[in-house]
């Protein structure tokens, strides 16, 4: 649990409890995504403690083999109650490595096939990506199988002239992959048909109120595109061909494109559902939210009715080319970084008077809480078991950056209606900011506990006590057993692994608080910014990319 020795009278436990959410679920999802963990089918149970322990152990072994983490991780203890003691499940470093592995924002590039084939963790990353794309049926297991080889060949065939290295890079950079596929011969004429019952169908009727759909489609597709001609002809009143649309709804290529759109919606924070290539209520409403979000972000030209069209009966058609072009999926603004978003938010926040600051804090907390409660209960319900929250950063960042002022204006609203789906942007923003702050505060808490706590590590048979200058005395029984040694070693390793990183951040936070004389709410924002800067200093010049191993581990 998050706590700060010596600050109990300044920061209430209620304030801290807000930042104790979401980590357990995030770890479960990431380990499950990489196939280390099978989520239970039973209602109410996500995963039991022993399964999680085994999954963490298997991940650590793989990550050590691939030199992603240091060997000391193998000696780390595992908490008895991982849900309560979620800090103890993984070290901060392991946690950030996992985040990197499951990102689809181009932050992590796989090594050439010859090198990764025997390294389970990399094979799992590749399997996870192909599984999401629907090109691999089986869940990640770390084995380079024929099924995976076939999936690689299939994607390579669609993309045309592409090297293996580029192919591997594209699988981890969803936006780039979608653009490349859109430009490929295989998908140039692709339209997506689906069955969907919705009350708003008349508003989207391509032969009624929404004739603009076909006009726009004509511009987006090749002049003699068979896809366009077929749609126009078969949907005409009097020539309506129900069988044709029925068949097209089952077209595997169409389902693949819908899956890509779902993935794009997922990584932009609009879609929290299954990635299954089927268009249902959640997917449809995510597109409505995208249209609303684009309007708020200053792109009023994006219109839902140019993206989806209603044909007849329950048949609909999607123009994927329009969405990809209009929301500028290819846009990669390298200036948009986590630090930049944090700093802009912090500056906006500083300009507020105290009552408005309180409203922003209150609304941020409510949005974060609502997001975590929703996700946690979705994971418990077997009906929603495979809903996902995207934990990458770059796609979300670009989405926030375009509409940051607008998000801030919303956060300043006195009453924020979090039940409304249209506030997804606010929820995602709170998730993004609070998740960083959560990590910074947990690291800070660990530093404060180590420095100003008892510094006494007690296992069943042994005790170690450190001075402030870290001289130590360890007491053990005369007949020390293997188990006692193992248990105490784990404690020592857990207390000191990554401690330098942790105390570096702790030192910076304390120094800034003393020099700038800031209060708690400003300080937590600054802690998030400082963590990001420290990661950049320690690991890389750029954020995330070029991830290297911290020599201290």
């Amino acid at each position: 649990m998050l706590s700060f020795p010596g600050l109990e009278d300044i920061v209430s436990q209620d304030e801290l409890n807000v930042f104790d959410n979401g980590r357990y679920e995030e770890v479960v999802q990431m380990l499950s995504d990489l196939g280390y963990l099978a989520i239970s089918e039973e209602e109410g149970i996500i995963v039991d403690s022993d399964q999680l322990r085994s999954a963490v152990k298997a991940f650590r072994k793989d990550a050590v083999r691939a030199s992603l983490i240091g060997k000391s991780g193998l000696d780390m203890p595992f908490p008895d109650d991982p849900k309560e003691d979620h800090e103890g499940i993984l070290t901060y470093r392991e946690f950030s490595v996992l985040q990197l592995l499951v990102s689809l924002d181009g932050d992590f590039t796989l090594k050439p096939l010859a090198e990764i084939r025997t390294l389970g963790v990399y094979v799992r990353v590749l399997q996870y990506r192909f599984h999401l794309l629907g090109l691999l049926e089986s869940h990640p297991d770390g084995f380079f199988t024929d099924e995976l080889r076939l999936a690689l060949n299939k994607l390579s065939g669609w993309l045309g002239n592409v090297s293996v290295i580029e192919l591997l890079e594209l699988t981890g950079n969803l936006k780039k992959l979608i653009i490349r596929l859109k430009e490929s011969r295989a998908f140039a004429d692709e339209l997506v048909y689906f069955r969907f019952r919705n009350e708003s169908s008349n508003r989207f009727s391509i032969n009624g109120s929404n004739e603009e759909f076909l006009d726009r489609l004509k511009k987006d597709m090749r002049k003699n595109s068979s896809g366009f001609k077929e749609l126009k002809l078969k949907s005409k009143p009097g020539k309506y061909d129900r069988q044709f649309f029925d068949d097209r709804c089952n077209d595997p290529d169409g389902k693949f494109v819908m899956r890509l759109l779902q993935l794009s919606q997922w990584t932009s924070g609009y879609y929290l559902g299954r990635i299954d290539g089927e268009l249902g209520e959640l997917t449809f409403s995510s597109f409505l939210q995208l249209a609303q979000g684009e309007a708020e972000n200053g792109n009023p030209d994006f219109k839902m009715n140019l993206f989806v069209g209603y044909i007849a009966d329950d048949f609909w058609v999607v123009n994927p080319h329009y969405l990809i072009d209009e929301v500028k999926l290819s846009e990669t603004d390298t200036q948009v970084t986590t630090s930049a978003v944090f700093e802009s938010f912090s500056q906006e926040y500083e300009q507020l008077d105290s009552p408005d600051k309180e409203v922003v804090d209150k609304n941020m907390r409510a949005a974060w809480k609502s997001m975590n409660v929703g996700f946690s209960s979705d994971l418990k319900s077997s009906a929603h078991r495979f809903r996902r929250i995207y934990y990458g950063a770059r796609s979300l960042l670009q989405s926030f950056w375009k509409g940051l002022k607008n998000i801030f204006r919303r956060l300043k609203d006195k009453v924020i209606d979090l039940a409304s789906g249209l506030l997804n942007q606010v929820k995602n923003f709170a998730k993004f900011i609070y998740r960083e702050i959560r990590e910074a505060l947990h690291i800070f808490s660990r530093g404060m506990k180590f420095l100003f706590g008892s510094r006494k590590l007690v296992s069943t048979d042994c005790t170690t006590r450190f001075d402030f200058d870290m001289d130590s005395i360890t007491g053990s029984p005369e007949a020390l057993t293997e188990n006692s040694l193992k248990e105490h070693r784990q404690l020592l390793v857990a207390a000191t692994t990554g401690l330098t990183f942790c105390l570096k951040l702790t030192g910076r936070i304390i120094r800034l608080a003393v020099i700038a004389g800031m209060g708690w709410h400003k300080l937590v924002l600054e802690a998030g910014i400082m963590l990001r800067k420290l990661i950049k200093e320690c690991y890389s010049e750029k954020e995330y990319t070029g991830f290297v191993i911290d020599p201290q581990e």
């Binding site: 420095l451 005369e478 030192g507 800031m518």
Partner: protein, 116 residues
């Protein structure tokens, strides 16, 4: 200045860094009646004081191993007669030394960040 920053200031001032010796590192492993040494809340006995005042005849605490790392990284290690590298106590002591070194590095980094 906010209450929070005042609190941090008093914490930093209370660290009494002038009284702390970062030039050497002492790591001690003991057995026997360890509670008499390690369970006293508040009072911390320095390893070197325990060694200097150690009299095997007058105490029920046994010194198993002691490591002193000097400011120039010279290391002096002492092990009780009969302890071999494969012994569990030897391994426990080695881990304690590694952990103390890692913790020392962390604290020095912390101090550098606070006072720089």
């Amino acid at each position: 200045m906010s209450a929070l920053s005042k609190k941090f200031e008093s914490i930093v001032n209370g660290m009494n860094l002038a009284l702390v010796d970062f030039t050497t590192l002492d790591v001690l492993t003991i057995s026997g009646n360890i509670k008499s040494i390690l369970s006293k809340e508040g009072k911390i006995i320095k390893p070197v004081d325990l060694i200097l005042n150690y009299d095997a005849e007058k105490t029920d605490v046994r010194v198993e191993a002691f490591t002193h790392v000097d400011f120039d990284q010279d290391v002096i290690q002492f092990y009780r007669d009969g302890i071999q590298e494969e012994d569990l106590t030897y391994k426990l002591h080695q881990q304690a030394v590694e952990s103390s070194k890692a913790a020392r590095l962390g604290v020095l980094t912390f101090i550098k960040e606070v006072v720089s």
